[in-house]
Symmetry: C2
Subunit: 235 residues, 2 copies
């Protein structure tokens, strides 16, 4: 982790623990001396926080806390177990139903840019919140990139494993959201009726060279399908 | 519009019209001489395209087209009529059902950071796709910021009006997505049954000083509730 990333993390913890929406942060000079780093490190760390929608900077006025968003809503970018930062209290418990090495179906070869019948790991997760099933996820991982997947690895954030253990740089995800009716099998997991609403969230993760490495499809109980996104649009 | 924004727009048009996913862009030197601008302008324009998920840059390898995403999916950031760039063919027709100046309900005063009983404009939109209702939107606008709203203004992208005509700088939106069952009134608009799924997308737009100015709540027909988001996460 680079120095500005560490400072950004410390700042996030400080803001989350101590500050409210619209609270003003100290001026940059104070931050420089408090964290004992260079001005460019502070600027980079503030840029990270701005991009994450945690702060906003008003020219000539200061740096302000953007605030948490609504209760019960989860960060659209921070979910699906594959995601690096899964410590968001979104669920109480995570189980793996099945890990298999399979021939990828067409939908999966398209998402991962693979040849026909290429091998992928399929991992089925169940997430619980208040002892209720809140999400069913099936993740597909390119076997050429992750060659030795087992339950121990699959139960930790896999993207972190790819980055830290396999030392492969990750880049950007594509996210797709759609709404549909639950089928009978899905409904039985959630304790709902077939035809009840569901939200499906698909994520395709890419390596730094643009190659897709993981494809995840998560179906959410409609009462827990609440997401927020804080955009930092250019002025 | 600043020079790098113009160049970014030209690049987007060129890419959309001529290039495919994974196609390589010319090297920066070629772009500089083609667009006849400085290196820093090209870099800024490329950064805009990277942030929008249109290109990705691989160090030592080049600049590549990230691709369009799936058919039938709309940019999560590019919708609701209030948004600046509504030319995304998401609908065939837009009607206004009602424009009123009303006392804001608690939900609206919270979203817009207003005092109790403050006045807001309420605009109800209906969107059609293939002659079917695809979206119902209700937008609330702070009357102290937009003081003379009428049908002519409301039928154009309102954010553009705020920026260009009122000359107020906009900053960032907060987006909330949730899923629920349609109530009877909503269902009748969509030609669906009460209890059928819907996706609700709320957006709160802020001015450059952090003040919220518009709050929009859009309910989508579940068959058209398909969105994508291209994230440009830090390396």
């Amino acid at each position: 982790m680079l120095k500005y990333q560490k400072i950004a993390l410390e700042m996030v913890r400080h803001i989350t623990g101590n500050l409210q929406q619209k609270d003003k942060l100290p001026v940059i000079e104070t931050l420089i001396s408090h964290y004992n780093v260079s001005k460019s490190t502070i600027i980079k760390a503030l840029k990270v926080l701005e991009d994450k929608g945690i702060i906003y900077m008003v020219r000539g006025s200061g740096i302000f806390v953007r605030g948490e968003g609504r209760k019960g809503y989860y960060n659209l970018l921070g979910v699906n177990e594959l995601q690096e930062d899964a410590n968001d209290n979104r669920y109480d418990l995570l189980n793996i139903m099945e890990i298999e090495l399979i021939c990828a179906l067409p939908e999966v070869t398209t998402a991962l840019g693979l040849e026909k019948n290429a091998k992928v790991y399929s991992v089925k997760y169940v997430y619980y919140l208040d002892k209720q099933v809140t999400c069913l996820e099936q993740a597909f991982l390119n076997q050429k990139i992750i060659s030795n997947l087992d339950e121990e690895i699959a139960l930790k954030p896999i993207l972190k494993y790819i980055k830290d253990v396999l030392a492969i740089k990750m880049r950007f995800p594509d996210i797709y959201v759609n709404v549909d009716k639950l089928n009978a099998e899905e409904a039985s997991f959630f304790g709902l009726n077939a035809g009840d609403p569901m939200l499906c969230k698909e994520i395709i993760y890419h390596l730094a060279n643009g190659q897709p490495c993981c494809y995840s499809r998560a179906v959410f109980h409609y009462k827990q399908a609440k997401f927020f996104l804080k955009v930092n649009s250019p002025n």
